[in-house]
Amino acid sequence: MSSLLVEASGVQKSYDGVPALRDGRFKLARGSVHALCGGNGAGKSTFLSILMGIQARDAGSIRIRDEEVNFQSPLDALNHRIAIITQELSPIPYMNVAENIYLGREPRKGVVVDKRTMRGNARALLERLNFDIDPTAPMVSLSLAQVQLVEIAKAFSFDAEIVIMDEPTSAIGERETHILFNAIRSLTSHGAGIIYVSHRLEELFEIADEYTVFRDGAYVESGKLGDIDRPHLVRQIVGREVAQPRKSTRSEAGKVMLDVANLSQSGQFNDVSLRVSSGEIVGIYGLMGSGRSEFLNAVYGIGPREGGTVTVDGREVMPARPDESIDAGMAMVTEDRKESGLVLGAPIRHNISLSALTHLSWKGVVQRRKERTHAAEMIRQLNIKTASDELPVSTMSGGNQQKVVLARCLSSRPKLLICDEPTRGIDEGAKQEIYTLLDRFVRSGGAVLLVSSEAPEVLQLSDRIVVFKKGRIKETLPGHSASQETLLHAAS
């Protein structure tokens, strides 16, 4: 029996004549967690969708357990014991956890679904994985993190030997990540192989033993993670030296832009007060469920708040009025850009101008030329990669989509930018660009309030770090002297 679960070489794929993958090479050994790295457009997703049977390759060879394969459908891949945890979560909202896990292969008693066995199997599976989720809970009642955990449990339930994990931790917190890693280690100790895709590089160094880098549709390099360091990996992924903005050269903070006093929302957060001044970035760090996103949404007005006040540059803002928030000088990048940040079917240009139409219109009529000029300027400034501003945003990569969200936010000329997980699901290159953007924004007098569950990101960006725990501010740390350990210690 070969020790190689997957051996791919020379894999090619083009869409309408444009090559997405020119030279796909990959080897997955038994018992290995293999990180597949690469920015957007690198060819990772294309390669994985071929491996999963979703697409057919144009050329090249793929061997699974020493057998040459040519999958025609995802079912073929499943039959070869390949399972995937996708980045795009699409649960059936009104069915419960057990039904979602066993969708399509429900245990039956004759013709009827055996609900009790299904629930029991689901409960056993969730307990084995140490996920604290009720199998009878309807999916719609779960948080984004819990939905992701159910997706992970579903993949594990297929008893696959090859598990592809695409950004499995993007929506879950530290504690759940550790639980997932333990589950991964248990899988690999039984001989399974994991292909792990994540933009969170420190995670890769923690859980994976081998790596392969793709860039521009081709294989670049592979090896053992123990032999390299983070800067080397970043260099290989991005292909060039990346300069990081140094926040220590930012000047002293100016006047108070955001003044939140005693904000409360039952069940989410309680009596939270904080201030953000012009020229500073305040980062909120906390574990999943600590109320960070709910707090941000409440400040901006897309989430509820019961008590307390929000004042922007001296002007008090009423609850649940995001239009007033924008008028007062706030702008928000939400946690899930596809769900609440972008109108996916609409052109890029329309998305960019949506928050600033009053500036781009005359007596209610949109000034199209002004709008086009403005959009072109934003696209240039933020380095948004697109052939035309007429294309729908749905055609763009995650990093470019996030830039469109930022373009829309900046178009309303805000004084305060609120960001919830600003680099979630974004490749390294775009991430750095966004960091530079935020830095530029505060240098020219803006204020930023951000939430991030990536400790290195919070540490790199923030002048001050506010640690949330169970809906309250636990403590505030200065950005330059904090470390990952102190952060985690304060948050848990």
Binding site: S9, G10, D23, R25, F26, K27, A56, R57, D58, A59, G60, S61, E68, N70, Y219, E221, S222, G223, K224, D227, I228, Y300, I302, P322, D323, S325, I326, D327, M332, T334, E339, S340, G341, L342, V343, L344, G345, A346, H350, S353, L354, S355, L357, T358, S361, G364, V365, V366, R368, R408, S412
Partner: protein
């Protein structure tokens, strides 16, 4: 130790690429409606000598005008991911209110009649909008309820009797003409021009598309979602009222049972015209072609002597076909 996997050029399996159905449909999507309409006309012109005559075409457009008006308003609603089943009933109520004013002693100004009818339509539309936007009730259920309520009110208002002997002012709406063009067609053209401009060139129009594309994203972007949705239903009520007044004028009587099932033709026109039922995608040009296609099919089937029962079956199949096309377009 870094290893390199050698590129294996020997084992190369080039696989054939089929012409995708998706590509064909994408082409059909962009020019499909106009092409379908032209193809339909060509086919019918071979089947009947009368089809391409001026008289026949005036008929088609006159018949299409009323459905077209309703469909224009319903387009706004469907763009916001809603639906309005009450337009037929609102038509009737506006019609009888306007007619009642018109037969009252002392000639009523046509403007007053129009305003009264439109007020009825706008008010009922506003009620629909509030229920959907502020009470968060499903549009299907709300407008289905309004359909019943409006129809009931129409019968109550007229005691079940038709309103006859309409004033010439009102009748002019149906039989008069402006510079040789029949009034219903003038109204349709004006309505289309105004609404097209609003949807394509105004901030409100952008907001309609944004709300339909993603309510949450629109809210985050500062769009006042509840107001936009309510406005869409008001517009739908207004166009239904206009259509009702013109139908009343053409039939020279306001019947409490007028407009029954008219909402189906209106929705069909919108869907065939390419506006997606899930909101955010579509255009009034498409709706107009959709209405024309329905009108032409009705006319064509009449000329061919097909019984109206078969016509209903055929229309139903076309609607299902159009929705299927929409679903494939969205990649389901």
């Amino acid at each position: 130790m870094r290893q390199d996997i050698p590129a294996n050029k020997a084992a190369s399996t080039a696989l054939p690429k089929p012409i995708s159905l998706h590509a064909v449909l994408k082409l059909a999507n962009n020019y499909g409606i106009a092409v379908a309409f032209i193809a339909l006309c060509i086919a019918l012109s071979f089947s009947s000598d009368v089809f391409l005559t001026w008289g026949n075409w005036t008929n088609i457009i006159r018949q299409t005008a009323i459905n077209g008006m309703l469909a224009i308003g319903v387009t706004f609603v469907i763009l916001t991911r809603g639906i309005d089943l009450s337009v037929g009933a609102v038509m009737a109520l506006a019609g009888v209110v306007g007619a009642t004013l018109a037969v009252m002693p002392g000639e009523q100004n046509i403007v007053v009649i129009l305003l009264a009818g439109c007020f009825v339509g706008a008010f009922l539309g506003w009620l629909n909008g509030v229920a959907v936007a502020r009470l968060s009730l499903p549009p299907f259920v709300v407008t289905l309820g309004m359909l019943s309520v409006a129809r009931g009110l129409t019968f109550i208002f007229t005691d079940g009797q038709p309103v006859l002997n309409l004033s010439p002012q009102l009748l002019w709406l149906g039989s008069g003409s402006v510079f040789g063009v029949p009034v219903p067609i003038v109204v349709l053209i004006l309505l289309f021009a105004i609404c097209w401009f609003v949807l394509q060139h105004t901030v409100f129009g952008r907001h309609i598309y944004a709300v339909g594309g993603s309510e949450k994203s629109a809210a985050t972007s500062g769009v006042r979602v509840k107001r936009v949705i309510t406005a869409a239903y008001v517009i739908s009520g207004l166009t239904a009222a206009l259509g009702g007044l013109i139908l009343t004028a053409r039939t020279t009587a306001a019947l409490p049972q007028a407009g029954v099932a008219y909402e189906l033709d209106a929705i069909a026109a919108v869907v065939i015209g390419g506006t997606s039922l899930s909101g955010g995608k579509g255009s009034l040009v498409g709706t107009l072609f959709g209405a024309l296609i329905i009108g032409t099919i009705n006319n064509g089937l009449d000329l061919l002597g097909v019984s109206s029962y078969y016509q209903q079956v055929i229309k139903g199949l076309i609607i299902v076909g159009a929705v299927m096309l929409d679903a494939t377009r969205r990649g389901k």
